[in-house]
């Protein structure tokens, strides 16, 4: 069984937010939901300031606070390390959301028909697509996944359930990289199997010093950062996304 992990090289990240865009296109997430989010930080006093960037996917913790508190087991830890959300079972209590210290959960506050990255039913869009289901509306998102055969891949944006970064389970199970990793132009994101010493994640982790976000909480994240440092009170967020549904 593979042990999936993500490594984010902050020395390479240039804050272009292409990963956020790739995530939205691949997973067709509603407006204002950012399963992948990139912090842009500014530190220091003028003129001695510097800017750095920190992508924040779901940490897919080994000790996930969200899965612990889920009253119905809709949020669970898979054998391969992915923390998955079964939107077929979720009751929408949002306990996972308040329990998560990283703020990675996004609730479907309404029927997101007009709320997708693109509204495929829109007349103007349909004129361009000739009424066909465009390739981006990925039917793979509705299928069951894993040995347990549960619907954990984003899905149909059912109103009233919680969703979050899936590490693109629909791509990973086909041997592909998650959309954010595949689309990073600076090769700052790595994804792979920690059990495989030849995988890029093992290679980078072996070469460089790494740290994890809010490690002191004991959540054991599966997302490792190399370079820079974890954000501290002096890190001011600039150009933050303030989108609300």
């Amino acid at each position: 069984m593979p042990r999936y992990a993500m490594v984010i090289d902050l020395d390479r990240c240039m804050g272009c937010r292409a990963c956020m865009e790739a995530c939205k296109v691949e997973n067709n997430t509603p407006t204002a939901a950012f399963w992948m989010y990139v912090f842009r930080f500014e530190e220091g006093e003028y003129p001695n300031t510097h800017i750095w960037f920190m992508p924040r996917p779901c940490m897919h913790c080994d000790n996930p606070p969200c899965a612990k508190v889920c009253p119905v087991g809709a949020r669970y830890k898979r054998e391969d390390g992915l923390v998955a959300t079964d939107w077929d079972r979720c009751i929408g209590c949002r306990y996972c959301e308040v329990a998560c210290p990283y703020g990675v959960n996004y609730f479907n506050w309404k029927e997101p028909v007009r709320n997708y990255y693109l509204d495929w039913g829109d007349r103007d869009v349909r004129r361009v697509t000739n009424g066909r289901t465009p390739p981006y509306r990925n039917p793979d998102l509705d299928r069951p996944y894993g040995e347990e055969k549960r619907r954990v891949a984003g899905g149909g944006r059912l109103k009233g359930v919680v969703e979050k970064c899936t590490f693109c389970v629909q791509r990973v199970e086909e041997g592909l990289q998650p959309a954010c990793v595949a689309n990073c132009p600076a090769f700052a994101l790595h994804f792979g199997d920690l059990e495989d010493p030849q995988s890029s994640v093992s290679q980078v982790l072996g070469r460089k010093h790494s740290w994890r976000l809010l490690e002191e909480l004991g959540t054991e994240p599966r997302v490792y950062y190399v370079g820079a440092h974890s954000p501290h009170p002096e890190s001011r967020q600039i150009e933050e996304v303030k989108a609300r549904v």
């Binding site: 204002a32 939901a33 950012f34 989010y37 912090f39 930080f41 924040r56 606070p65 612990k68 508190v69 889920c70 009253p71 119905v72 087991g73 809709a74 079972r89 979720c90 009751i91 929408g92 209590c93 949002r94 306990y95 959301e97 308040v98 329990a99 998560c100 210290p101 990283y102 703020g103 990675v104 959960n105 996004y106 609730f107 479907n108 506050w109 309404k110 029927e111 059912l158 109103k159 009233g160 359930v161 919680v162 976000l213 809010l214 909480l217 004991g218 959540t219 954000p231 009170p233 890190s235 001011r236 967020q237 933050e240 996304v241 303030k242 989108a243 609300r244 549904v245």
Partner: protein
Amino acid sequence: MSIRVQRLPYGVGRFSAGFWLFILVLLSVVGWGIYAYSRQLVEGLVVTGLRDIGSMGGAAWGLYIAFDVYFVGVSFAGITMAALIRLLRLEELRPVSRMAELLTIVALILAAFSVLPDLGQPVRGIVNLLRYARPQSPFFGTFTLVISGYLFASLVYFYLDGRRDAALLARIPSPLQGFYRLWAAGYRDTPAERERHHRTAFWLAIAIVPLLVTAHSTLGFVFGIQSGRPGWFSTLQAPAFVVMAGVSGIGLLLVIAAVFRHVLGERERLHEGIFRWLGGLLALLVLVYLYFTVAELLTTTYTGHEAEVRLTVALLSGPYAWLFWVSMGALVLALVSLVLPYVPSLVPVRVPSFQPAFTRAAGLAAAGAGLVLMLYRHSPRLVPVAGAGGPEPEWVGWVLAGLAVVFVLSWFPLFARSVVAAGVAGGLLVNVAAVGKRLLIVVPSQTHGTLLPYGPGSYTPTWVEYSVVAGLFALGTLLYTLFVKVFPIMEVAEER
């Protein structure tokens, strides 16, 4: 010894025009709440003020969860009374026993109902909680211990406790005779039966009392064991929930007892001793809670963990300051009000009095300003800004709070004279504080307690949330009122 009852006591079975009007008003509020909830069912939780924590800068839990906690807290009253009367043999409190038990049952029903609107998938909520329940989730305790176990035990206790009266009332002809006969279920109030009942109720009380601590703690643990939320993660959370539950429950019981004392004119049975006893207990619980608050504030600020300090600043002087100080002020004022009846006899002081006109003016001004403020805040033309408190200038809130304080202060001479008035004022004030503190526990940790630097968020409830909560209160009052009209709210007195 057999007790004779000539007619149905305590207004049971007598329906006046005013009563029907009251029911009509309550029904229309309930209907309005249902309408608001239907909007939410159709459009989704987007109609509430709730939003995602983090990049969306919102709170995922708000008014619904705060009032769920509040209603569960209020249910404290019944068990306490059962314990005090059955285990400590405080026979003088007997007249409020059934009021307290009914309050518990109604509050628990409301608690169950107030979780439902918080769920994005309410139908799944009911089905999946049974199908896939996980004991590891702190919610499990809320649904098993509190909503099911607590409610069931209270209903059984309530039923057994009422059997004697049902048997008595079943002897006299009335339209409700069948109902009483059903309730009595063969009970005839013979000495042997009475003895058996006493024993059963005693053991049942012993069985329920641990629930007093565990059930309310469970709800505290829903918040207290989340290490990722500053302000929630605290050992004190569970004990504070138990104490605050007592504060709100006993407070509401005081108010209800005073209402029945007035409406039924039962000054003899609902005597001042009851109010003195409950008022003293309430004052003690308020003191404990204030002590907890001080301990909590000192712990979070002294070491200065960055996130805890940020949250505490938001509470003490930030966007939540008005709510924090109103709640704290209400607790302190309640404490003073409850102690006041004892003051003139202890020390020879004269409590200064105000002109009644002045009192009314201050009260009306406070209520009017509050209403205007509320309407202003929820005006559709205002766009809430993330991070800011409300759109109104800050001093408006303080003026409002000042007027309210003057209003309460001007009643002090009355409190010093009457233990009942002091109890009612204390009960109302602690319930204002209870609602405020519940909101302060639930919301700020989400908007201002993010451990990653998302920046401050905001949460303003919408009309849908207010309407649903108002509907719940109306439903509770409706259930309570209707029950009072079909069954005596106090044990039928033995006629000598």
